[in-house]
Amino acid sequence: MLLIRCPYCGLRDESEFSCGGEADIARPLEPEKLSDAEWADYVFMRTNTKGRFKEQWVHTHGCGRWFTLVRHTVSHEHGETGVFGGVAPEADG
């Protein structure tokens, strides 16, 4: 069971979080201009990296914030986190 460092709450048990899968899948700005294949690529295709993998998690039972986490999909070692929308953790938080 992972011990995840929420950027806002610090180390918490995995059970407080939900994993949202691969990060950085940006929604196309003009979907109607995409081909069916391009749309399918956005909706369904995934990189599913074996190795260091940037994914997004939400601290469902804690602060409720989404953040990104780089995690190795074989060793499960994880570290670097990132925030969305520029909501920076406070120094005293």
Partner: protein, 1004 residues
């Protein structure tokens, strides 16, 4: 039994003042406090107490701990019965009652022993090679034989009734978790504790000490157990040290999460105090871990090495030293390393005749001198080749052996009634393996040791590293404890203790020895077992090699080596080494198996903890729950909620109740508890933009005080929720969701708001539970609500359909949605949740009939309103259910692009339609498959299915909603709905709105 004749007259860590009576296989025995079941039984001799898995050969106690392969027993009977416990790990208590497993009619005479005599027919994997049913019909032979095989397999039996015991879970946190309370573990715990660390020390025994419990070791010129006692005092006085005895660390997981099982009430047996849990599962989050898990002695194999009375050499030492039991008068010890010498000396001190056969030509001179001067017969360059006897040892043979284990001279008989075999040590690297350690073959001690895990915060110390000397174990323990404390940020400087041990002069290396004879085909000297529990012999390993099942996993799976309840603790390495010999490889080239948690088995109940019975899963109750329960509600589970399905009155069937409730809403007024519907407060200037993106329809025109229905889809275009959203103020909306999706929808909004559209200024807050909701519906609804004192103008003009009003009702703040899911005039009255019950009672007092979810389903189906999850299943678009009107063409929204994909744009997809059975007395089966031709043989062409079907008191007959291929273009057609068994019901395809098509009733 003739009394505990094998109990030594003095010594041991048993309490001779506390005699404990117990029974085994119906006979009475007496042991002492401090005994295990195994030690207490051994005091009566090394008799058979089990039968082996496959051949049903008699088996006795083989080891002294978790590695025991043979002595599995059924403890107690009835609901508290427990199968497959190792006698070596059961603490004796007064009145204990145990019996043998896997033996019929008795352990002394077992009919299945016939398997042993027929064993030439049953080599490893024999079952893959027969029962194929060639020529006799598909698998018929196997069908015939499988039940026999099943009955023959398995050990103990499941208990007879539900478990009456309690189990606890406990979360704990520490700087340093030390696993194992032997010298290395104690040393590590002291080093960490003295630096101010929060320490948890877990040891599986009733008292720490590990190998020192044998009582024959010394530290600083005193018995080593004195040092242990002092260490325990120090640890006990430290503020943040938790010592968990009788606690087995079962598994290590990512980020140094550990599970451990503590025996709490279990050791008292069935008479344990009722408030105590039987077991406690610890969930430990450790910053650093020190594994001082020791090592298991391994045997070497020889003919009939499973005869009761053959034991691990070090087990003989522990029974003698710790429990004062030596179940024999003439002991033959076979060894290939130094450790058996301590056993020999301890036995000789107790006056036992000992022959020590050391496979090495030249044992260390000091050891040889010591044993000889103690009167022990030392035979060098010899190994045990066979024992004689069946149910007990009637002698043994020894002979010189070659490097590959083959006998190099003629075997000589040795008088013996107890045989101890010491083939070297296998470090207990199970836990390190859970954490990813790769076992590395270490030539000098001829064993696998774990590789370095310190980068993960896991350190090893003591015998688990292959260390043999006590001084080395203490030293490694200290270093690991110190380093772990430092890594956890406890940097206090402490002087290192200096301890003098009784290790003596340096020893000689091991001479690896795996199996003496017994490997070659045609060797008739008797079975040489590698895995005692699963009856895997050296020959079986050779057969696997011959048939090319050569990888370690194939070996295990083909022969079942190491697949038993002991996970092969005494067997695996020997099996690997033998496979290596067969195939010309070193043991590590054969491969190593990955050890799987748990280290020792864990009862399911301990894993379930408190998640049982009434506490299995949270029950969510609405504010009106008590009223429902007291007034005949039949509840249905909707997620964790309990919702009234219908309210049954005395003498009423469920169907009659539902009919009555439907009629009440159609003809008078009903109320439903709708508190479970999700409610999300949305605030901010950009709410309307958000709504436009997550709902399929347009939201710009919604005015303050008005509400609108919306559909939510995923990017694949499929419906996943629906609900009404109302505008309370310019920048303030409230969204409702289905009961089941309340949390899902809020998470969905947050996902998009946070990750994709952080520029949108919207705050979303769940207010589901802040409000209690009573839906008042029916032609008399307005009259009923108008009678409630308050400040709301209920007239249709002031408060039309799809409007929302805030005000006060009977002194409580209220928020009312005039929306209708029933087709009648309908008010969803929300009051702060604590007032919900009182509001409900007031409405009942005003003459409303309570109705449940099933009546609600009927009412809405008559109106053709969908229920997400019933009319939809994740494959249904808004257009499919006839709600193309709610899909905006002007704007983009989540899922929109998917509608132009070829399959999604097909005009002949499955559409929501109404079905009217041609026979109005028929209620079509929900889930019924729709066909054109009811006479077609399977596989039939299925065109869709009935999604909802009810009897309608208003329509006075059956009606249904269905998803039907090309359905909107088939209005008026007759289709057929297959019955479960035979035949079909004919039905006409109609518009899905059955009731009040123009909506006059719901507008007032």
């Amino acid at each position: 039994m003739s009394g505990p004749q094998f109990r030594l007259s003095a010594g041991g860590r048993i309490d001779r003042a506390a005699a404990l009576g117990f029974s085994f296989n119906g006979e009475s025995f007496t042991g002492y406090a401090g005994d295990t079941l195994a030690s207490a039984l051994l005091a009566y001799g090394a008799f058979p107490l089990a039968r082996s898995f496959k051949y049903h050969r008699p088996r006795g106690i083989y080891a002294a701990g978790a590695e025991e392969p043979n002595a599995l027993v059924q403890l107690e009977s009835g609901a508290r019965s427990q199968p497959n416990l190792r006698a070596t790990q059961i603490e004796l208590y007064s009145g204990l009652n145990a019996s043998s497993v896997n033996a019929w009619p008795s352990v002394d005479f077992d009919l299945m022993r016939v398997n042993d005599w027929l064993s030439p027919l049953f080599p490893s994997g024999f079952y893959y090679k027969t029962f194929m049913g060639a020529g006799i019909g598909t698998g018929r032979w196997w069908k015939l034989f499988e039940p026999f095989i099943r009955r023959a397999a398995g050990f103990g039996r499941a208990p007879a009734g539900p478990d009456p015991d309690r189990y606890e879970r406990m979360n704990a946190h520490c700087d340093v978790l030390v696993v194992g309370g032997g010298p290395a573990g104690l040393s590590a715990a002291l080093a960490a504790a003295n630096r101010g660390s929060r320490v948890i020390l877990a040891d599986e025994q009733a008292e720490p000490g590990g190998d020192l419990l044998a009582g024959d070791r010394g530290i600083d010129g005193a018995p080593a157990m004195d040092w242990t006692a002092t260490a325990m005092e120090t640890l006990g006085a430290a503020p943040d040290v938790t010592v968990l005895t009788r606690t087995t660390v079962a598994g290590l997981y990512d980020d140094n999460f550990a599970t451990a099982l503590e025996s709490v009430g279990e050791r008292f047996g069935p008479d344990a105090p009722a408030h105590l849990p039987r077991l406690r599962l610890w969930r430990i989050r450790a910053r650093q871990i020190v594994l001082a898990t020791g090592a298991h002695e391994r045997p070497y194999a020889f003919a009939n090495n499973d005869t009761p009375g053959v034991m691990l050499g070090n087990a003989v030492r522990h029974y003698a030293g710790r429990y004062a039991v030596v179940p024999g008068r003439q002991v033959l010890l076979g060894t290939n390393n130094d450790s058996a010498y301590r056993t020999a000396l301890l036995l000789a001190q107790a006056g036992i005749a000992v022959t020590l056969a050391d496979a090495r030509e030249s044992p260390p001179a000091a050891l040889a001198e010591a044993v000889r001067s103690a009167g022990i017969v030392l035979e060098t360059g010899c190994a045990i080749t066979a024992v004689a006897g069946d149910r007990r040892i009637r002698g043994a043979k020894i002979a010189p052996v070659r490097a590959d284990g083959e006998i190099a001279g003629s075997p000589r008989p040795v008088d013996a009634d107890l045989v101890g075999v010491s083939g070297g040590w296998n470090p207990a690297l199970h836990l390190a393996s859970h954490r990813g350690a790769r076992p590395v073959w270490n030539e000098a001690p001829a064993c696998f040791v774990p590789d370095d895990l310190s980068a993960l915060g896991v350190r090893v110390a003591g015998a688990v590293t292959g260390a043999g000397a006590l001084a080395e174990c203490l030293e490694q323990g200290y270093a690991a404890g110190r380093d772990a404390a430092r890594a956890a940020g406890r940097t206090k400087r402490i002087r290192k203790p200096v301890l003098k041990t009784d290790d003596g002069a340096a020893g000689a290396p091991i001479r690896p020895l795996w199996a003496v004879a017994g490997r070659r085909p045609g060797d008739r000297r008797g079975k040489a077992f590698v895995d005692l529990q699963n009856d895997v012999t050296a020959k079986d390993v050779a057969l696997a090699a011959r048939e090319n099942y050569r990888s370690v996993e194939h070996l295990k799976r083909y022969t079942t080596l190491g697949m038993g309840t002991d996970q092969g603790k005494t067997a695996n390495v020997t099996g690997l080494a033998l496979m290596g010999m067969e195939t010309g490889r070193s043991p590590d080239a054969v491969g190593t198996t990955t050890f799987r948690p748990p280290y020792t088995p864990i009862p399911f109940g301990a894993l379930a903890g408190r998640d049982r019975g009434a506490l299995f899963d949270p029950v969510r109750e609405t504010p009106m729950f008590d009223w429902h329960a007291a007034n005949g509600a039949v509840f249905e589970d909707v997620g964790q909620w309990k919702r009234p399905y219908a309210y049954r009155r005395a003498g009423e069937s469920l169907e009659q109740a539902i009919d009555r409730e439907v009629s009440a809403v159609r003809n008078a007024v009903g109320i439903m508890d709708a508190s479970t519907l999700g409610k999300i407060d949305l605030k901010g200037p950009d709410v309307v933009t958000l709504l436009n993106r997550v709902y399929t329809n347009d939201w710009e025109t919604l005015k303050v005080g008005r509400a609108r229905y919306g559909l939510m889809c995923h990017e694949d275009g499929m419906i996943f929720d629906d609900g009404v959203t109302a505008r309370l103020a310019d920048d303030h909306y409230v969204m409702t969701t289905t009961t089941g999706n309340a949390a899902t929808v809020l998470n969905w909004l947050e996902l998009w708001l946070q990750t994709e559209w952080p520029d949108l200024r919207v705050f979303a807050t769940s207010v589901t539970e802040a409000w209690a909701t009573a839906t008042v519906a029916g032609p008399e609804a307005r009259k009923l609500v108008s009678d409630l004192d308050g400040d709301i103008d209920w007239s249709d003009e002031a408060f039309p359909h799809m409007a929302i009003r805030n005000g006060a009702i009977l002194g409580a703040p209220a928020r009312i949605f005039r929306v209708s899911f029933s087709g009648e005039a309908s008010y969803e009255i929300n009051v702060p949740a604590h007032y919900g019950l009182a509001l409900w009672q007031a409405l009942i007092g005003g003459g409303a009939t309570p109705y449940g979810t099933e009546a609600m389903h009927v009412l809405r189906a008559e109106k053709g309103f969908i229920i997400v999850g019933q009319e939809t299943d994740g494959t249904v678009t808004p257009q499919d259910v006839g709600m193309g009107w709610a899909v905006s063409k002007r704007k983009d929204f989540i899922g929109k692009r998917s509608y132009s994909r070829p399959d999604t744009a097909r005009p002949d997809r499955k559409h929501l339609v109404g079905l009217l059975p041609l026979d109005s007395g028929t209620v079509l089966p929900e889930g019924g498959q729709i066909v054109n031709d009811p006479s077609q043989e399977p596989p039939v062409t299925m065109l869709g299915h009935v999604t909802s079907s009810y009897r309608s008191p208003s329509l006075n007959g059956g009606f249904a909603l269905a998803l039907l291929k090309n359905g909107r273009n088939r209005t008026g057609d007759t289709v057929h709905v297959l019955k479960l068994d035979e035949g079909a019901d004919a039905a006409r395809v109609v518009d899905p709105v059955f009731y009040d098509r123009d909506g006059g009733r719901l507008r007032g």
